[in-house]
């Protein structure tokens, strides 16, 4: 009986495999709350250190508020990244992911989305509060919120490439930061420039378009790079 049955009869669709992966990662995050809370606390603490370390004067803080928030968000995203594939690599789940008949692109994207929902989104949501603490000029809240909303997923997607490349290494230390942070610079520039320039009357739309374009490029390309990197790491 040589009749390789066509795929799909009892098989799952790519969409259901995508949902299953997303659900699983959210469930794991829910059960490992400290993994989610730690980067978030880190974000709050880093942002709080600046008024203490630089200057508590409202005028000085207003100048650096946007930059501080962006850098704190970037570092928090980096700190959270390590959880993305590590446990899966160690317990063998990653091999199962790689051997799925479905496109690894979508499965990696599902993991990235799940990861951003628990690590990036909370930072975005709390950012106006921290911005208030840092005396961000009144007109810039919406700009900051929207740029972070578009920018942090890009940071997650780029970080995923770095994590995928280093997941097989025994001691990673700072290598993840060395790989990921340079790639994140354009996002950081676009995000902080947007806040600064709109204060001086520039239109917000242009910056949102740039960040939106970065997000689209990251969604379409970064998971491909992550998938390829994972195959190399598991090899």
């Amino acid at each position: 009986m040589v009749d390789p049955t066509p795929a799909g009869s009892a098989g799952s669709s790519t969409a259901s495999a995508f949902r299953a992966t997303l659900k699983r990662d959210l469930l794991i995050a829910y059960k490992r709350k400290h993994d989610v809370v730690n980067p978030f606390m880190f974000f709050l603490i880093v942002a709080t250190l600046f008024p203490i370390g630089v200057s508590p004067e409202p005028e000085r803080l207003a100048q650096i508020a946007a930059g501080v928030l962006w850098i704190a968000a970037l570092l928090a995203s980096l700190l959270a990244m390590d959880n993305l594939y590590r446990a899966d690599y160690e317990d063998g789940s990653l091999e199962q992911l790689l051997l799925s008949p479905h496109s690894l692109y979508f499965l990696v994207l599902a993991k990235n989305i799940g990861h951003w929902l628990v690590s990036g989104l909370p930072v975005v949501l709390v950012s106006p509060l921290i911005a208030y603490m840092l005396n961000l000029p009144a007109g810039s809240y919406l700009t900051l919120f929207l740029t972070l909303l578009l920018g942090t997923p890009v940071l997650s997607l780029l970080g995923s490439i770095g994590v995928a490349l280093t997941v097989g290494l025994g001691s990673r230390g700072l290598i993840l930061a060395v790989i990921t942070l340079p790639m994140s610079v354009p996002v950081l520039i676009a995000g902080t420039m947007a806040v600064e320039q709109t204060q001086n009357g520039a239109s917000l739309a242009g910056y949102l378009a740039i960040l939106g374009a970065m997000l689209l490029a990251a969604i379409t390309l970064a998971p491909l790079a992550s998938a390829a990197a994972l195959r190399i790491s598991v090899n």
Binding site: M1, S12, A20, T21, R24, G92, S93, E95, Q96, L99
Partner: protein, 217 residues
Amino acid sequence: MTMQDTHLTAIEPGTAMLAANELFCERDDRILFQRLSFAVAEGQVLQVRGSNGSGKTTLLRIVCGLNDSYEGDLTWYGAPLAEQVEHFRHELLYIGHRVGVNKVLTPLENLRWTCGLSARVDDDAILQALAAMGLRGFEYSQCFTLSAGQQQRVSLARLLLSPARLWILDEPFTTLDKHGVAQLEFLLAEHAAKGGAVLVTTHHELHVPELEELELG
């Protein structure tokens, strides 16, 4: 330096599900195997044997497609495997020595995902499979509370749930108790009887009909 040269009696073409031709693999300047040819046919259990470090796991990972640092040809139903990866993966069930069980999830949640990656499986079927593997009462316990053997059983429950024809199992007997060993042997024999094929590494003496052996190292 480990070297060897293994040829199994060729199986008639057409019946072979998976065949390897003249495989060569070198790792850290050490030749693990060269000119290694074998075939697994429907209804057959192929046990890969060999001393520690002889490349059993590497061979299984090469066949699965997890490791691509080899030379030689792999064919799937007579055609190059690389051209039909998607179909191959639909028909493949691989359990490595890292069994793919997440520690914070429950057995039910683990299997929902692992099985959901390739097939549609409902919760009732998973609960039945877990009960059949002797895990009744543990369905909703987080896996870090289970013993190594029980975690192995969670992953082996996939054998009952998957429609895959080719099972590739890396040391599936290691943590199982006597009863578990007998049950797994029964499952392997049953799978072969239904026309499936098994590629398995173990040091355990397998009591399965239609057993072929491949000696490495």
